[in-house]
């Protein structure tokens, strides 16, 4: 019964993956300040408490700002780099891509610490802007991966045809490249936004006095009575993150209809 064994293994693995995550929403509806079984009844008061928490709302605002700025900047940078490596015969393109992707493999704590030291050395203050710069390092590789795949999926002859029909590079970009890249651009915006929004370590080192949401949550863990509220917040972030990633994947896979050739 090899198949049954594999099935059990798969189920156990899924449980291992998702049980911890599900603890969050379950306890966020639990009517008790103590995080322990048995559950003691259903409540939404932790969620209601969130709406009144002005410090939390401020941190949320900070995270949205940082996420939006990071998403726009990293998608723009990714778009330029992706166009360069897919549309030109560039010497050293592979090497450049490797270097761009390297920050993905540098431990965040090392990255955060290095950035902290660097900012200190050049005399820049810790701020949300510094967080955005740090997040760019992590997000550009994601944007690049999504956008390169998209560029490779569309026919370079389309851009040549536009040039042939009298449009210069700029107008060709707006009339052909941009509309055809739009699903990829949207996917990249969502992915980089959510990556920045959920990022903790770099933000922790660089945010200074303006906490982002994950930094705020970390701070709240010192107060045991705040824990259920943090769980409610975590549950919301989890839901939104998953939803955004699903949207991004759907967009990414929505291909330009490949031309059918034949009669």
């Amino acid at each position: 019964m090899k198949n049954r064994g594999l099935l059990l293994y798969a189920l156990a693995y899924l449980a291992f993956l998702y049980m911890p995550v599900l603890v969050l929403p379950v306890f966020s509806f639990n009517n008790s300040e103590f995080i322990a079984f048995p559950l003691s009844g259903f409540t939404t008061r932790w969620y209601a408490g969130l709406a009144a928490d002005s410090a939390m709302l401020h941190a949320l605002g900070n995270s949205l700002k940082v996420g939006a700025a990071t998403a726009l900047a990293s998608t723009l940078l990714g778009l330029l780099a992706a166009k360069a490596v897919t549309r030109n015969r560039l010497r050293g393109a592979g090497l450049a891509l490797g270097f761009i992707s390297l920050p993905l493999f540098i431990p965040d704590i090392v990255l955060g610490l290095s950035l902290l030291l660097l900012l200190g050395a050049v005399g820049l203050p810790l701020s949300l802007a510094a967080v955005v710069l740090g997040h760019l390092l992590v997000c550009v590789p994601f944007a690049l991966t999504v956008l390169i795949a998209r560029f490779e999926g569309f026919d370079p002859n389309l851009e040549e045809a536009s040039a042939d029909l009298g449009e210069d590079g700029w107008m060709t970009f707006w009339r052909i490249t941009f509309p055809l890249m739009l699903p990829g651009i949207a996917a990249s915006l969502l992915l980089t936004f959510i990556t920045s929004f959920d990022e903790f370590l770099v933000a922790y080192f660089l945010s200074g006095t303006e906490a982002t949401l994950p930094v705020y949550i970390w701070g709240q863990l010192r107060f045991p009575e705040r824990l259920p509220v943090v769980l409610a917040l975590g549950a919301i972030i989890l839901t939104v993150s998953v939803a955004l990633v699903i949207c991004a994947e759907l967009l990414r896979n929505r291909g330009v209809a490949r031309p059918r050739v034949g009669a």
Binding site: N157, L158, E160, A161, D164, L165, G166, V261, G262
Partner: protein, 348 residues
């Protein structure tokens, strides 16, 4: 100076010469074909004329203006791409009107021009159709209309019929020729299909290994190829080794198996001298069956309707002779090789 003048143009990619010192002159209003096997450099040459590649050497001039550094969007050329490159996010009308935006026409004028072009390529009423819903033949027409609507001085066509099935291809050949006559624009077509090149064009340049081998009208190309590569590439051809004995008003050759023959002087390619070893070339349809002649054995016969195609084995020769016609018998036949149809080519 000719309308399109390509002189000493070369292009190499990664050290390999793809186009090698090519000279080419095309007259205004001509339907001209660049014919050659894949990889012979014909598409690269076309792309240099369109501005998508820059020549390493040489000059390209259109209507007296040197084009080498002019980007594609400023050239008086338009191109029909091999895969048509129809803009997938635009409908048929917007695809065709795409290149008109730059001309700053009035709205009704733009509309009229695009509609007229839709009619020329027989796509009336399909303006609203999405690009993804077009058949192969329709895509080809949209690509053609989109390029022609700008009234280029020179239209470049890169294997425009290659993606179509055989019947559609034949119908489109007739139509392409009719459209060219109607609009009067110079057409430069790239193809590997010799039938297409011969049936469509006023003149054909045969390319091989980055060089132009021969430029001639289709009939001349077929009847008087100037080298073995051209003779081989266009149609079916039999070759025999021979030696030139004497060149006078006619040419006397010793053709071994075929005996001593006298050819018209015009059948000899230029540059051949007495005592040269040459190739005698003859088309299958010019080889005749007769009562007496070179004896051979029919090795295979293919029935083709009004005629048949035979492979005839003759003694002392490994390759069978291709013969097109109607054999009087099965088995042993006698072949004659009329000297008027034997062409003397350099043995290279």
């Amino acid at each position: 100076m000719s309308f399109l003048s390509v002189s000493r143009v070369s292009k190499s990619f990664g050290g390999a010469a793809v186009v090698d010192a090519v000279d080419l002159s095309i007259e205004r209003g001509e339907f001209f074909a660049l014919l050659g096997p894949s990889g012979c450099g014909k598409t690269t040459l076309l792309r240099m004329i369109g501005g998508f590649e820059t020549p390493d050497n040489g000059t390209i001039a259109i209507d007296g203006e040197v084009m080498n550094t002019v980007p594609p969007h400023r050239r008086p050329t338009n191109m029909v791409f091999q895969n048509y490159a129809i803009f997938p996010h635009l409908n048929v009308f917007d695809n065709i009107a795409y290149g008109l935006r730059r001309l700053r026409l009035r709205k009704d004028e733009l509309r009229a021009r695009a509609e007229a072009m839709l009619a020329t390529v027989r796509l009336e009423g399909l303006g609203e159709r999405a690009a993804g819903q077009l058949s192969g033949g329709q895509r080809q027409r949209v690509a053609l209309a989109r390029a022609l609507v700008r009234e280029p001085k020179l239209l470049l066509l890169d294997e425009p019929l290659g993606a179509l099935d055989k019947r559609l291809r034949e119908a489109m050949q007739v139509e392409l020729r009719a459209i060219q006559r109607k609009v009067g624009i110079t057409f430069l077509l790239v193809t590997h299909d010799q039938e297409e090149a011969l049936s469509l064009s006023d003149r054909v340049a045969v390319m091989g290994a980055g060089r132009i081998l021969q430029v001639a009208a289709p009939r001349e190309l077929y009847e008087r190829p100037n080298c073995r590569a051209v003779a081989d590439f266009i149609g079916d051809m039999n070759f025999f080794h021979a030696t030139v004995r004497q060149i006078g008003d006619s040419v006397t050759v010793n053709a071994g198996l075929l005996g001593i023959l006298a050819l018209p002087r015009a059948n000899l390619a230029p540059g051949i001298r007495t005592d040269d070893h040459i190739l005698l070339a003859i088309r299958p349809e010019h080889v005749g069956f007769s009562e007496a002649g070179v004896a051979g054995e029919i090795a295979s016969a293919t029935f083709l309707g009004e005629r048949s195609h035979y492979h005839v084995k003759i003694a002392g020769r490994s390759d069978p002779v291709s013969v097109s016609g109607i054999a009087p018998t099965h088995g042993t036949v006698h072949l004659v090789f009329p000297p008027d149809h034997l062409i003397g080519l350099p043995n290279a």
